[in-house]
Amino acid sequence: MKGRIIILLAGLCATSPAMAQQAAQKPAQTVRAAVLRVDMNELPPISRLDTPPADLGFAGARLAIDDNDTTGRFMGQDFEALEITATPQTAVAELDKLLAEGISFIVTLADEENTLKLADQAGDRALIFNARARGDRLRGADCRFNTIHTAPSHAMMADGLAQFLMWKKWSDWFLISGSHPEDIALADAYRRAATKFGAKIVEERIYEDTGGGRRSDSGHVQVQQQMPVFTQRAKEHHVVVAADEAGIFALWLPYQTWDARPVVGSAGLVPHSWHPSLEAWGATQFQNRFEKLATRTMRDEDYQTWLALRMIGEAATRTNSTESATLKDFMLSDRFEVAGFKGQKLTMRDWDHQLRQPILLTTGDVTASVSPQDQYLHQTSALDTLGIDRPETQCKF
């Protein structure tokens, strides 16, 4: 993968005669965007079932472009999204090429550090859609006016899970976090959620990543010995909350804990922005369309990329414009809303440019619940019970 760049053209959807017949009279105006994915040199995931597909995120982009183009036929609008993969070393150069081409909507699939780097490089030349990084600092102290977050934040995920746990009256948590900076940031989100919703963290432990025990021929043998011991003699708790953003240990926790307690967070009951099991709110046909196009099920990154490009399409339809500035202003306004197959309209937080959205709480096979839970009310939007609300934001544009 070193330095290799793959450029694909997407969304140049074939125009059948029947479609041409229906097309609008005026020549189509094109809205150009790009999806820039920064691939890290990562170890394989704990489970081979979680191996990222080669078209991660891009498949979501293709579906969004298909959707936008279908609507675009009635509006005289055409949409395209370039698909670019880069490494942390080449990401800025790739971005510069896109900016030089005049592309002003760029969806990034990158970690926190690279997302921030790209946003700063783009400045006011492009609107960045963060479709991957969940770190709260990107919506807080390190927020950028030119960045919209379609990926939910750690705080939203943690709050979504916390609401459900409090509804279950599982208020005493045993928090186990990994030793990587992103794990520590996620653990912070759980601590914040515990305070916000009245849960108690009765015990905290850190699972040090010493480089072993992740996946090997004898992985499960080792784990079967290690995990019960690691979780032994914790104070009385209702649930184990795992904060393992790096994906080192959490999947090994369920059924291996010393006490018979459910595991939530990075394993067990897991918060997601999307899950292939969701059927409500028209999700079935959305899943069908995606699976037909991608021949696999949809992941969070695909959904978040789809959402970013659908936002652009929706803005173009509503404003009847393909002008970047017009679309940007509309997307950042309080008039903007987009449907995302999660039962309610998704809107923009003006204080940090985070897209409001429900959080799915999923087990391996089903969507077990969707937050916000009905019991949590808010004066503006129930969705603002999830994540960082206006009065507490550290973001200053």
Binding site: A18, T317, G343, K345, S381
Partner: protein
């Protein structure tokens, strides 16, 4: 003589299937149960459950009451049943994933929304042949037709438009942008108003069919119900155009709207996640499908009152009442 007529009446009631004109059969499609529940519109009792294919959603009946059409979404076809016996007589080619359809007032043809394929398929109900495929917006669902049969309306849920289609040339001649996720399109009988519900937008657009412009947007506000839960789907209008009923999904209410002023006058509490509705021919009752509570609510139309709820099958979706 008196005894004799009592005996005849009793046997008629006992037979159930053969009850005289007053009672109509009510057909409810159960999306997850793969069957149709048949009810009696007078006794409000369940007559039976009948298998109808995979994932039945849209359901309608011919004007003469002789053919019952069911969208078997996962079978990719429309199945046609004898409404009396509930035996399948034939199938119609529908295109992939048929969700909802509307019959021409004459009973032919049938206009079908293919949700997964961005098409409206037109099928001749006599020859069983496909007449046309019309490309529309993303996720077509709602299907309406003008009382004179000249204009077919399709709503596309992700494109957010009501497409006006010439029912003879099959060409789209107008597109009206409405609020998010339009689910249903319903004309009043005079043909002067077209109601289009927007599930995520939370509104019903009242469109002037002549000018194809939105004249009013009806919004809903129910004390104690989260605004996000108010999701308008099914719309039905009484023949005189005076009352409009709108099913509000997870708000578990049906809104009653004054068809002249288009103002909301009442909210009726029904079962959970109410989507589709159907009148009896005399408009005495309106039946609503409640997908999450697996039942049907019966509304007394004149009194604006829910008089009964009837358990049906798994995830009831659509409902139609036989015309005779």
């Amino acid at each position: 003589m008196n005894h004799l007529s009592t005996a005849i009446l009793t046997s008629a009631i006992c037979l159930g299937l053969g009850t005289p004109a007053l009672a109509n059969r009510v057909f409810v499609s159960n999306e997850k149960g793969n069957d149709v529940t048949v009810l009696d519109s007078e006794t409000l009792e369940v007559i039976g459950h009948y298998p109808v294919g995979a994932r039945p959603r849209g359901i309608t009946i011919s004007p003469d009451g002789k053919e019952l059409y069911v969208c078997a979404s996962d079978d990719d076809l429309v199945r046609v049943f004898n409404p009396e016996t509930m035996e399948e007589t034939h199938t119609l080619p529908s295109g992939p994933d048929p969700e909802l359809f509307v019959l021409h007032p004459s009973g032919n043809p049938l206009y079908i929304a293919n949700e997964d394929d961005n098409l409206v398929t037109v099928v001749d109900t006599k020859t069983h042949k496909m007449l046309a495929e019309i490309p529309v917006g993303v996720e077509p669902e709602g299907m309406g037709i003008s009382p004179d049969g000249k204009v077919v309306i399709n709503t596309s849920e992700t494109t957010n438009m009501a497409h006006f289609i010439n029912s003879e040339t099959f060409e789209i001649f107008a597109n009206v942008l409405v609020d998010s996720r339009p689910r249903f399109a319903q004309y009043n009988d005079a043909g002067t108003k077209l109601y289009v519900s927007s599930e995520i937008g939370g509104t019903v657009s009242v469109i002037n069919p002549e000018t194809q412009t939105i004249e009013k947007k009806i919004s809903f506000d129910i004390p104690g119900v989260l605004p996000e839960a108010i999701q308008p789907v099914g719309v039905r209008v009484t023949k005189d155009g005076k009352k409009v009923f709108v099913a509000l999904g997870p708000a578990n209410r049906v809104a009653v709207i004054n068809g002249e002023t288009d103002e909301v006058e009442d909210y009726l509490l029904v079962g959970q996640r109410v989507w589709q509705m159907g009148f009896t021919p005399d408009e005495k009752y309106l039946f609503t499908t409640n997908g999450n509570s697996n039942d049907v609510s019966v509304i007394d139309v004149a009194a604006n009152k829910v008089v009964k709820s009837i358990p049906v099958g798994q995830q009831p979706w659509g409902v139609v009442v036989a015309p005779n």
